[in-house]
Symmetry: C2
Subunit: 471 residues, 2 copies
């Protein structure tokens, strides 16, 4: 049995660190999107597990031989698809330290440093982002936690709202049939998914119409809420998206909050993709109205160079969150928790187990990650505005949505089929990667400027590629 010894771990670990540096610095050599066909990767691997241990060097070699052809390079500077997912060297090391320590952070007592570091990091981020004080862990009723993803944060928010709206009876009775939620068609898919999981079916979800900027029309929200109240239903949760996935639209939080407050609805603000922009003081308008929100989430794993998974979830009403998610079996009791002196984050999330995720945030922030992120965010925003000018100057293209930050949606005036064909041809070159969306029934090409090393030459090349293929 060839077990990896400590010396082998050092040797292979050093080699893997070097491999990551080589990969990161050389990522431009690869086509952005993997060029494989379905089944190609599996076909390169044995169908059955090996009967005996193999030398670890063979495993590392297979990273290049088998894995790399099947990678779509999210760290490539010409990756303009989906959303930013940039990592950074310090965050990678923070993740490594977490793996090495191998502790569970489900309760304070299962590793106090895991909990206390996390609490401090969400508080540091509250300051750095300029978020309202009612989200700080030292506030009377609020606090923050690191979740794995915005999907999980959204679900947690829905569950807290459901608990509050039913006065806690949901935990015993499970009756969700009178509850109604509100969001626009532009809200992220995790909103519908989270509501569905919580027993709020589509018949209880109101799609609030949006304006020409794809932002929620609050007059329409108000009408829907009044209709539901008149029908004897309970409006309980509304989502304000600050930066929608399709086009980066911004719902007007303060006006939505006014309706939410009036009807005692829970207001969740979803800024998963764009909220980190508030690290730059001139972009702090993203936070407008947050002082009226019950919960909020944004993702350092999208736009701050902190590797997935790292979503910040804040609530102003931790009592409802704990009411919704606390379960205390005997084998998880502890004196510190009984005394109320500590936080047990297992009660702030769906899973019980949790990694030491705050280490990567701590490593990133301390080694200059905030300054680096602000520089990157400003660069992305500037480049996107420049790109928008180029697009406006080309009569074949039209810009189809506002673009206040780092996402530009364009389409060919020739129509949907032409736009679809353009995206497909451009992606097939491997020189850049874009995602398609549909905005008010019209196909558009999303250009998300979000790579850690994405610079003017990458954006210019991407635009040249689209122009070249536009015919």
């Amino acid at each position: 049995m060839a077990v990896v010894t400590p010396d082998e771990f050092r040797q292979h670990g050093h080699a893997l660190i070097d491999w990551i540096a080589d990969y990161t610095e050389g990522v431009e050599q690869y086509p952005v999107a993997s060029q494989v066909q379905p089944g190609d990767i599996r076909a390169m691997l044995p169908e059955h597990p090996p009967a005996h241990a193999e030398p670890f060097a063979d495993v590392l070699a297979d990273l290049d031989r088998v894995v790399m052809p099947g990678i779509t390079h999210w760290q490539h500077p010409s990756f303009f698809a989906y959303f930013p997912g940039n990592g950074s060297y310090p965050a990678i090391l923070g993740d490594l330290a977490a793996s090495g320590l191998g502790v569970q952070g489900m309760s304070w007592v299962t590793s106090p440093a895991c909990t206390e570091m996390e609490t401090l990091m969400v508080d540091w981020m509250q300051e750095l982002l300029g978020l309202p004080d009612h989200f700080r862990s030292t506030s009377a009723t609020g606090g923050g936690v690191i979740q794995g993803s915005a999907s999980e944060a959204t679900l947690a928010s829905i569950l807290a709202a459901r608990w509050r709206a039913t006065g806690g009876s949901i935990n015993a009775m499970g009756d969700t049939t009178h509850l109604v939620a509100y969001a626009t068609s532009q809200a992220h898919s995790s909103i519908e998914k989270g509501l569905r999981i919580a027993g709020i079916g589509t018949s209880q979800v109101r799609i609030v119409p949006h304006d020409e900027s794809f932002a929620m029309r609050v007059d329409e929200l108000d009408c829907l809420v009044r209709d539901d109240l008149a029908a004897g239903l309970t409006p309980f949760w509304v989502c304000a998206s600050r930066g929608t996935t399709s086009s980066m639209a911004f719902d007007p939080t303060p006006a939505i909050a006014a309706v939410a407050r009036r009807e005692h609805m829970w207001l969740h603000v979803d800024a998963a993709m764009s909220g980190i922009g508030a690290l730059a003081p001139e972009l702090r308008w993203i936070n407008d109205g947050l002082e009226l929100a019950d919960s909020y989430c944004t993702n350092p794993h999208k736009w701050m160079g902190v590797n997935f998974d790292c979503d910040l979830f804040y609530t102003a009403d931790r009592g409802s969150l704990l009411g919704a998610l606390s379960i205390l079996p005997e084998y998880l009791r502890s004196a510190a928790a009984e005394a109320g002196a500590v936080i047990d984050y297992r009660d702030w999330q769906v899973p019980l187990g949790r990694r030491f995720r705050s280490l990567k945030l701590w490593f990133a922030i301390r080694s200059g990650g905030v300054e680096q992120a602000v520089e990157m965010i400003r660069r992305h925003v500037t480049l996107t505005q420049e790109l928008a000018e180029w697009a406006a100057a080309d009569p074949r293209f039209e810009v189809v949505a506002p673009h206040p930050l780092n996402l530009l949606c364009v389409r060919l005036r020739d129509g949907d089929a032409a736009t679809d064909a353009l995206i497909e041809r451009a992606n097939a070159t491997g020189r850049a990667l874009f995602t398609r969306t549909v905005l008010d029934g019209m196909v558009a090409c999303r250009i998300s400027v979000g790579g850690r090393t994405t610079d003017r030459r990458h954006v210019a090349a991407a635009w040249a590629l689209l122009q070249e293929l536009a015919g």
Copy 2:
């Protein structure tokens, strides 16, 4: 701005690898449980984020100065608390590779290797564990996926069952009030939590009585189901625990399955803590009846040396799982998925985003992780049986539950207070760590033998400690 350069990353990365090897090899020097008081760790750190970048060496130094005093060492060979959470060198490197690649595996197209490697790894594990073929991804209706935790797997199972029991109408109507679920009081807290999240309140959850071995009484299950049917309710989900958390009891899956089949209930088998034992052929009885289960989960991150997070979730009915969790917005469509040629794992789980988790499983299996795990599992089981003999030979103690694998529950004949005091005194020494539980109203000390390097001398020392302090 001091950004970490590639060369600095190599330098600090090598140092961190060495730090992990030193930590892992030297972990016995630490008290098992952190000795800090609430607030101690936070007090060692600045309350506000640094205004400027600090040298990375300072960050690494603070791992020792600030973080280590707050660590409860799950990798310590004298860690007998909670459940095994052992890691290994190859798995740490697999996790590191995932961090370095920084890809999202939400869809096949977002990085084909991430999806195809995962599918192959869950199939490899199906073989290695001797699980039924209806869980294999190449089967007609089943398949597997890596989830972050058993809590998430349980929730996914409940959601799939809810979808099937309502003929899919749950997605629109959200009415869960007629659904009833079944488990014993010994089932894991994530069962109640998952049901609650899904809108199945405690009034719709039947606690099935258990026998003296803490296993489900199927005659009682049968009665409860018949009563609920007579009351016009819909029994929809039953959990068979194969290795409960409190005492490692084993519910009789085949008999439970007979009731589940008769009433078209979804049978979920939860073997989070113990299922990996089936890597050893002589322990394959753990899987008894699985061929009749609709879903199953077990955790390589508990007993196989694969670092958290890595839960294997299998279902025989992927159609219901996809029915429950699929949402397809325009920006996530892909030609490969539309053609049905690929798996998009985002539809197999709650979150959208996902790490390249299969790498750590691949690294571990290829470098001898299975042989190592089998050796470890056998060692733990042998040591636990030996420990049970020692306990039986000491008239002050009694063994309070069956102990077929690697968990022994003991108590002092002097009663609850004495047992509680013993656990508290033993844990305070830092020489070992145990967890308390309550079994049929009686306090017990759980001794979970689960460390990668836990050997006879650690178990003997732990027992000597308990004997010494038993007075």
